[in-house]
Amino acid sequence: MKVLIAKPGLDGHDRGAKVVAQALRDAGLEVVYTGLKRTPEEIVQVAIQEDVDVVGLSFLSGAHLLLTRRVIEGLRAAGADDIDVVVGGTIPPRDVAMLRDLGAAAIFPMGTPLSDIVAALGKRTARS
């Protein structure tokens, strides 16, 4: 099980991304982190190069709908739609269903306990 934690867009807040990355690593998953300000194209490219199972997108600026759509479309266009996309960060409740409709496999809004994220991704490993 390999996860790419990614920071799309211009936002520079990476506390959440780095905390989740450390928790997943401690849980025995292989974790790659992109660093800040990556474009959707760059994220798709790294996800394919690194052959990850899941891409975790972290947002705080509010640009999550547009950028999640770009990443999911990019993966599809590259024939990599077996890679799941999950989304975390400052996601207002009204956007959760919209992200799901865009094809996000799971959404972890503010307040989600780390253990839930680890358990959710762990379950995906068991399934795959």
């Binding site: 211009l10 506390r15 800040l36 640009a63 207002p92 496999a105």
Partner: protein
């Protein structure tokens, strides 16, 4: 008996007494408020002479919308402004840059040209209102725009009071709005400090921030240590340029956060003031007492506010205001109770402002200078925090100094480690958070609540009731209006003047001259922020982030 530890990690005794402060020299170590080393505050009578400035962080949408919110808060007694800029502005991208899509006007006000800054401050008298500009990588051009607006309003240069944040080192550590590599970024910081010191004597051209580093996860002691290390790096930078320390140090200001344990926060600021005064006087030989003063904004930490039962954040805000007052803040800002959900509503901003006003006028916290001075606990804790801060400062030295530790990513990695440790302490209940890991509504009181709206857990999104939190409705028309205005300015300006100014900026960026005069020329010719940023990027290149976690 329960074990209790500070956020900085040291244990707290159940009671403190005279034995805990024995052996101190009260005159040398504590002194009086307004006297070196300023442990008890930088003014002799503190808030009896002047209350702290109330300065909420505001900015969203177009400059016109932000102007309206500024005037709303000022009409309710806010006496100063703190401007939030959107991410494209902070990163030097025009609103029509493809990378700006979806971000224009979202987390702050969009600025493309001087015309936007003119609109943002229309009808606001810049000779009387002090304005903080939360801008770092683009501090030089945005401040140049601000100076130009003040000039056009007829404000004499020596009456302009502005505080551009201009602290790029903490952006590399925490907040992430870096653009250029470390060296040219530092040059821009220094150019703005030097230019302002020479021409705008009441401006505060750098606001050294521990705030964002703590918000990113570090401890209280690290927050103060990293802030002091950053201040030291800037002082060394200016001295290396040949400026006398007293020519610029009196206008250095600080921006720190405050949340959690009240007495630990008070001790952090008392220790920080003492260490800063000694550093400036003893290490750098500053002779002007104003150079020794740690003047700080204390801004409540939004990271301490939670999504569960958001109204409780108003109570947390009141404790933060009290702690900030007891800590001797010069300026105060509070997060808003809806902060974990959204860009603040006008109502939430007003409650935050009223919280500070209640603290100032009703609580008695502003009645006398350093009311906790002489408390066995607080004096012992101040010494303890000083030791912890000094240990962290020594660790920074061990990493090769702050600038080197930023370049290598060692500090960033340490902050991320502490953030993870904090989450583990929350999960274990070692750090308590009401309605998050204890006193759960309808819960069992012991375990973390499974947040019910993630898909894998199979729940449905509850969200706050609509009467509880007014979610900021981002409107695409904001971006459209901004783009239309940018197009208009581009059409109407003198293209020859823009080209000349941008060429001059690139040429001078290749040398070592102060870039501010060239930036001022470009700004006044209505060059866009994106053009100005690009003229420097072509010479400086871009920062490559050391990715470590």
């Amino acid at each position: 008996m329960r074990d209790v530890k500070l956020h900085a990690g040291t244990p707290v005794k159940p009671v403190y007494g005279p034995e805990d402060v024995a052996g101190r020299d009260p005159a040398a170590d504590i002194g009086r408020p307004g006297e070196y080393p300023f442990t008890r505050g930088i003014h002799p009578a503190m808030y009896r002479e002047r209350l702290w400035t109330m300065r909420q962080y505001v900015g969203f949408g177009t400059p016109a919308e932000t102007n309206t919110r500024f005037k709303y808060l000022m009409s309710h007694g806010q006496d100063a402004l703190n401007v939030a800029f959107d991410l494209p502005t902070q990163l030097g991208l025009d609103s029509d840059d493809p990378r700006a899509e979806g971000e224009v006007g979202r987390v702050g006000m969009a600025v493309d040209t001087l015309a936007d800054m003119e609109e943002a401050f229309a009808g606001i008298p810049l000779d009387r209102v002090s304005v903080s500009l939360t801008i770092n990588g683009m501090a030089a051009p945005i401040t140049a725009m601000y100076y130009a607006v003040a000039e056009r309003q007829g404000t004499p240069a020596d009456r302009v009071v502005t505080t551009p944040q201009n602290d790029i080192l903490k952006e590399f550590v925490a907040r992430g709005t870096w653009i250029y590599p470390v060296e040219p970024s530092l040059r821009l910081v220094a150019d703005l400090i030097e230019f302002s010191a020479r021409h705008y004597p009441r401006s505060n051209p750098v606001s050294v921030c521990g705030y964002h580093i703590r918000e990113a996860g570090c401890t209280t002691a690290q927050e103060m240590a990293y802030g002091l290390a950053i201040a030291r790096a800037y002082v060394e930078l200016m001295v290396a340029r040949g400026m006398g320390v007293d020519e610029f140090a009196p206008r250095i200001s600080f921006n720190f956060t405050c949340w959690g344990k009240i007495f630990e926060e008070v001790a952090k600021f008392r220790a920080g003031r003492r260490l800063y005064a000694r550093m400036l006087r003893e290490r750098f030989g500053a002779a002007n007492p104003k150079s020794w003063m740690f003047r700080t904004l204390i801004g409540g930490g939004g990271s301490s506010f939670v999504v569960q039962e958001p109204e409780n954040n108003i109570v947390r805000g009141a404790y933060i205001a009290l702690a900030a007052a007891l800590s001797g803040a010069q300026t105060m800002a509070l997060p808003t109770y809806d902060e974990a959900y959204t860009i603040p509503s006008a109502k939430a901003q007003l409650i935050a402002l009223r919280t500070m006003q209640i603290c100032a006028e009703e609580s008695g916290a502003a009645d006398t200078a350093d009311p906790l001075g002489g408390s066995y606990y607080v004096e012992a804790l101040t010494d303890e925090m000083e030791r912890a801060i000094v240990a962290e400062l020594e660790h920074v030295e061990h990493l090769g100094g702050l600038v080197e530790a930023v370049r290598s990513g060692a500090i960033q990695a340490e902050v991320a480690r502490q953030a993870y440790r904090f989450e583990q302490q929350l999960a274990s209940g070692e750090i308590k958070k009401v309605a998050v890991n204890c006193y759960l509504t309808g819960g069992d009181g012991g375990t973390l609540p499974g947040f019910p709206f993630n898909q894998i857990a199979g729940g449905t999104p509850p969200g706050p009731p609509s009467d509880q939190i007014e979610l900021y409705a981002f409107d695409q028309r904001v971006a459209d209006a901004q783009l239309a205005k940018l197009g208009r300015v581009r059409r109407e300006r003198d293209h020859g003047a823009v080209d000349r100014a941008l060429r001059r900026l690139s040429d001078e960026a290749r040398g070592t001259t102060n870039l501010m005069p060239a930036i001022v020329e470009a700004v006044k010719a209505y060059a866009t922020l994106g053009e100005i940023a690009a003229a420097m990027r072509e010479v400086f290149g871009e920062h490559k982030e050391p990715v470590k976690f």
